[in-house]
């Protein structure tokens, strides 16, 4: 397909990421991008070029992201984007998978003393523009016959700051983001995340329609990470695992069986991903889990056989 060829030719993946969401995509003080979404792109680069660093990043805010992808400004958009019917069908986009199962939640200040979102009628809500959150919020309050006022900001920075200044009673966003945003508060412990989840938010990398080859590569880069976790292949042990007798492991690592050429890449594509980016679990823990400031538990994002719903088709 055109995108696949174009990416291969230019030698790097142009990756659309969020302008700054700790754990998902944010720069460290050296200016290097870090996060789950960033790793999604790195995985694709590792599969395609054997080098996870062949990625260039375009920070996008919520408003711009689809236009940027549609116009070809970026090759893939792993930017914590919810998979919805409209987006999948009318925008000319394809969702390649789900790298994070999320749901929309609320964050309120402790001082407010509420336990449930149901007590929030009449509340003023800070929210980021151009997200499904905006629509879910409207639905939720309408369904529960509650009133609200939404104050919509361009970027998450302003949203947090407005929340902090007391401009609104609560901040709503995907739960993962709530944790990420909470650490941006001057005093993170002053806010709590309410238990309610008001929507399904499957987040995943998006590509343009019309290039199945590219779509496959993005989708299977993610699946490879999930399969690797399931099979116990990690960044550390991947080299030893090359010698493993387990046929599943051998297939995943391209030692035998299925060939990389079906994806148009090297046989060691999955090996490269695991070696350089890690399996899904490692990626999760490093960016948003216990190894990070966010400390989000796996929850739904655990593998299917560990009580979660992350389930990848087998590589065979």
């Amino acid at each position: 397909g055109t995108t696949f060829d174009a990416v291969k030719k230019k030698g790097f993946v142009q990756c659309g990421v969020s302008t700054g969401l700790p754990g998902f995509s944010a720069t460290d003080d050296k200016g290097a991008w870090k996060g789950i979404d960033v790793d999604a792109c790195r995985a694709v680069a590792a599969a395609l070029f054997g080098d996870a660093n062949k990625v260039k990043y375009t920070p996008l805010n919520a408003k711009e992201r689809f236009t940027a992808l549609q116009s070809g400004e970026v090759d893939m958009l792993p930017r914590n984007t919810t998979w919805t019917y409209t987006r999948d069908t009318s925008l000319g986009l394809n969702f390649a998978g789900v790298n994070y199962y999320d749901g929309q939640g609320f964050m309120v200040t402790k001082k407010l003393g509420v336990k449930s979102a149901k007590e929030l009628s009449g509340a003023q809500v800070c929210i980021q523009a151009g997200t499904t959150t905006e629509l879910n919020l409207a639905d939720y309050f309408r369904a529960n016959k509650m009133e609200y006022k939404a104050i919509t900001y361009d970027s998450s920075d302003e949203t947090v700051k407005a929340f902090e200044s007391g401009r609104c009673d609560m901040l709503t966003s995907d739960q993962s983001q709530l944790y990420a945003l909470r650490i941006k508060l001057a005093d993170p412990s002053s806010a709590i995340v309410l238990p309610e989840i008001i929507s399904k938010e499957p987040l995943g990398p998006v590509v343009r329609q019309g290039d199945d080859e590219w779509f496959n590569l993005v989708r299977w880069s993610l699946f490879a990470q999930l399969n690797a976790e399931e099979a116990g292949i990690t960044m550390k042990n991947v080299d030893e695992m090359m010698k493993s007798a387990d046929p599943n492991v051998r297939r995943i690592l391209g030692v035998e069986g299925v060939k990389g050429e079906f994806l148009g890449v090297d046989d060691k594509w999955a090996y490269n991903i695991i070696k350089q980016v890690g399996n899904y679990g490692e990626m999760f823990e490093r960016n948003v889990g216990q190894g990070s400031a966010l400390k989000i538990s796996r929850g739904q994002n655990a593998l299917w056989n560990k009580g979660g719903i992350q389930y990848a088709p087998p590589i065979r």
């Binding site: 055109t2 174009a6 302008t19 700054g20 700790p22 944010a26 720069t27 003080d29 050296k30 200016g31 260039k56 990043y57 375009t58 920070p59 996008l60 805010n61 711009e64 236009t67 940027a68 549609q70 116009s71 070809g72 400004e73 361009d154 920075d157 700051k161 650490i183 941006k184 508060l185 001057a186 400031a293």
Partner: protein, 367 residues
């Protein structure tokens, strides 16, 4: 009988009208209304200044490397000094920042003579700075030749990017603006004239953020499939087109200020249209419009903050980015104050410069 006129000696003026008292009376307490106003302003200043000064200077922390140094309760300038490098150079690799410094230094050396009245080669030097220097700067910034490590445009940022956007935007818009201004003056070609007018009015009528949005995310839609270029370059194209419309209006003002006799004399000598413009009219017009150009440059310089909207991190963007750093959360005021100060210094000194130029050009025009 005639006698000589001996002028009386000058006497000192009555004490009440000179010296400190005279000054105070004339300037602060000349009438009841003025006295009230003076007292009111003194009161307002007395109430509002001390807390600000306390916060910004007296209680402020200046030295240190981390937020632990900020304990006095005032401003934490440590944040600015710790992040100063990124504010200035963006994510330009630390070991390569000498290249940016070299650009600044050499630019300064090139510009310095322009401020001396006596310097004879102003025009040539100015042309060098405008046309040749950018190439030199571009090579240094971009690298990739002469053994310089290539640095991606996505790593450019901070004040460097601010200056780059504003100056490249301005320099590139100049020729386009001149053409547009000439086109707008071309009364014998109504079609060309109206196209120029349309172009100018279009760009002057739309907000810069929509232009930036268009250039950054929509441009690839307008181009043939597969054609794509750098994001920074696209923002620059947007800015240049936008700026050229303003430039055109400034240049038009200059062209209109050239007396008709100059055109006629050039015609009478047999100079063709382009020679007339290039040798006679434009050199004179450009001199007149320098203050105007500086003013549009200031406007553009301030407007570069809008590129955050398309994800380019100029100085304000860099500051906001630093505010996301978990180690430095909560120092946004310091960050914004610092940014405001940087912009103010640049804009204020440039506007003073342009005012001085204007005065120089209009000497003898006072009442």
């Amino acid at each position: 009988m005639s006698h000589n006129f001996v002028p009386l000696p000058d006497q000192p003026p009555p004490t009440a009208s000179v010296g400190a008292i005279g000054w105070l009376r004339r300037n602060l307490f000349s009438s009841i209304g003025n006295t009230l106003l003076t007292l009111l302003s003194i009161y307002v200043l007395a109430v509002s200044l001390p807390p600000v000064i306390n916060w910004a200077f007296i209680d402020a922390d200046w030295v240190g490397v981390s937020r632990d140094a900020c304990t006095s309760g005032g401003a934490c300038w440590v944040f600015v000094s710790a992040r100063f490098e990124t504010f200035m150079y963006g994510f330009f690799p630390a070991e390569e920042t000498w290249r940016i410094n070299l650009i600044y230094g050499s630019l300064f050396l090139c510009m310095a003579p322009l401020f001396f009245d006596k310097f004879p080669y102003k025009v040539q030097l100015g042309a060098f700075v405008i046309f040749v220097f950018p190439i030199f700067g571009f090579i240094l910034m971009f690298g990739g030749v002469f053994g310089l490590t290539p640095v991606e445009t996505s790593q450019w940022g901070g004040m460097t990017l601010t200056l780059l956007l504003a100056s490249v935007g301005c320099v590139a818009a100049l020729p386009l603006g001149i053409l547009l201004a000439l086109g707008r003056q071309a009364t014998n070609m109504p079609a060309v004239k109206s196209m120029c007018v349309l172009f100018i009015e279009f760009w002057r009528g739309v907000p810069l953020i929509t232009v930036l949005f268009m250039s950054s995310v929509m441009l690839p839609l307008f181009l043939p499939e597969g054609v794509s270029f750098d994001k920074l370059l696209r923002a620059l194209i947007g800015i240049t087109l936008f700026q050229s419309a303003y430039m055109a209006e400034v240049v038009r003002g200059g062209l209109q200020a050239i007396p008709k006799g100059q055109y006629e004399a050039a015609d009478a000598l047999g100079l063709s249209y382009w020679k007339k413009m290039g040798l006679i009219v434009l050199p004179q017009a450009m001199k007149i419009v320098i203050p105007g150009i500086v003013n549009t440059f200031i406007a553009l310089f301030k407007d570069t903050t809008l590129v955050i909207i398309v994800g380019l991190l100029e100085i304000l963007g860099m500051v906001q980015n630093a505010l996301n750093d978990p180690n430095w959360l909560g120092y946004s005021t310091e960050g914004y104050v610092f940014t405001a100060f940087m912009f103010w210094i640049f804009c204020f000194s440039m506007s003073r410069y342009s005012q001085a130029l204007e005065r120089k050009l209009h000497t003898g025009h006072k009442r």
